[in-house]
């Protein structure tokens, strides 16, 4: 596909709101294999709909959560449970920071 120059507008969507992902989609977008995604579900980082992995449906926000968890695990050489904990704390810090900014503090 030629993507060198300006192009017309694309049909686009907000990932977090209008997208659902299958296990395959998620594996590809995170560049990891299905086993890792299954581990992320087991540990509670990702919460797909439906019971069977073949039928799993993930919401759009899962993609960034999965990518972040994998990156934390790899870059800090920690296990997934540790990465999951870090992810949760980071989420909390982020929402507190946003709050603080909104209230006028910095």
């Amino acid at each position: 596909m030629n993507t060198e120059n300006k192009q017309p507008r694309f049909a686009i969507c907000i990932l977090e709101e209008q997208t659902q992902l299958t296990l395959d989609d998620l594996c590809h977008a995170c560049a990891i294999d299905t086993q890792r995604i299954i581990e992320l579900v087991d540990i509670g980082v990702l919460e797909p709909q439906n019971r069977e992995p073949a039928e799993w449906v993930f919401d759009g926000s899962s993609l960034q959560r999965a990518r972040k968890a994998i990156k934390l695990q790899r870059d800090f050489d920690i296990d997934l449970a540790g990465a999951a904990l870090a992810l949760e704390l980071l989420d909390e810090i982020e929402s507190l920071r946003t709050r603080l900014r909104a209230m006028g503090g910095e």
Binding site: M1, K6, I14, L15, E17, A29, A31, L72, R99, A102
Partner: protein, 312 residues
């Protein structure tokens, strides 16, 4: 090409043990990891650190690097010696791939570009092209009204001579109405070309700081200065909102810090966010005799002690 002093980047002496290097790497990684750090240049520092660690943690690569000698200083002009690499054999394993993959030209001149390809952990059977991820900065108004923004992405490409070069890629992107900070836009088929389907491009949205509004998800916060008499007696005043100027009724007896909600005046959506107006009372300066007289009159006639609650 600039010489990179990996020992300096890692914050260790040239004779540091492997354990010391590992310890220092871990400590600095926690400091500069882009997902964790709030340092302004975290991403660049972390990349540099990953590259330094890639070399120093590996006995073969470290030995080869050490052979360049201690005379080079970081940032100094560098050309690899002609017989460079002779007698070294790299096993090639253990490369981190992923985001650590785009190392500097300096690294590539010493250890090659191919070196990076190993160990990325991708599933080999996939034919779809690689996905790409980037950030875009937009204004609050772009999200409020929707907008088309031209964004330029710098993408590495391989030229006819096999060298890696960066090319600018210009895209016109329609920003969907109501998108919030931290959300992502997916552009299907705008990633790398693959044997089958092309990969996708993901753009993370970040807002530029706004001169008036502070943003929390879909809600906006606005500090609105009012006069003491507007706050005390009540008034109708003009207030800017992203959707245009509106008239806001300040209730009688409002104090500084009072929060008034303009329902549905925040970022577009279903439901839309709210705009919170926070009153701040602005005092008129006592810079004329008339103004001073008015203050003196208030002091005489109003029995008002703002410190009554403190027992003084």
């Amino acid at each position: 090409m600039e010489f990179k002093d990996y020992y300096k980047i890692m914050g260790v002496a040239r004779d540091a043990t492997q354990d010391e290097i590992k310890r220092s790497y871990r400590k600095l990684a926690r400091k500069f990891h882009p997902d964790v750090s709030k340092e302004p240049n975290a991403e660049a520092r972390f990349k540099e650190l990953g590259e330094a660690y890639e070399v120093l943690k590996d006995a073969e690569k470290r030995a080869a690097y050490d052979q360049l000698g201690a005379n080079y200083k970081g940032g100094q002009e560098f050309r690899p010696p002609p017989d460079w690499n002779a007698g070294f054999e790299y096993s090639g394993g253990g490369s981190r791939g992923g985001d650590g993959a785009d190392f500097s030209d300096f690294f590539a001149s010493l250890f090659g570009r191919d070196f990076r390809a190993g160990g990325a952990g991708r599933t080999p059977s996939q034919k779809k092209g690689e996905d790409h991820h980037a950030k875009v900065l937009i204004d609050l108004e772009d999200s409020y009204a929707g907008a088309t923004r031209t964004i330029t992405l710098r993408v590495p490409a391989v030229d006819a001579q096999g060298h890696v070069v960066t090319k600018d890629r210009v895209l016109n992107v329609a920003i969907p109405k109501g998108i919030r900070a931290g959300q992502h836009i997916r552009l299907s088929g705008q990633g790398s070309a693959g044997e089958g389907k092309a990969g996708d491009l993901y753009l993370e949205i970040e807002f530029r700081p706004h001169p008036l509004y502070r943003i929390d998800g879909r809600d906006l916060y606005l500090d609105l200065p009012v006069t003491p008499w507007e706050a005390a007696l009540g008034a109708t005043v003009k207030v800017p909102t992203p959707g245009g100027i509106i008239e806001l009724k300040i209730p009688e007896g409002s104090s500084s810090g009072r929060k008034l909600r303009l329902k549905g005046r925040g970022i577009t959506g279903d439901p839309p966010g709210d705009c919170y107006v926070i009153l701040t009372i602005a005092l008129p300066p006592a810079d004329t005799e008339t103004a001073k007289d008015l203050y003196r009159k208030m002091a005489q006639e109003l029995k008002f002690n703002p410190r009554a609650g403190m027992g003084v």
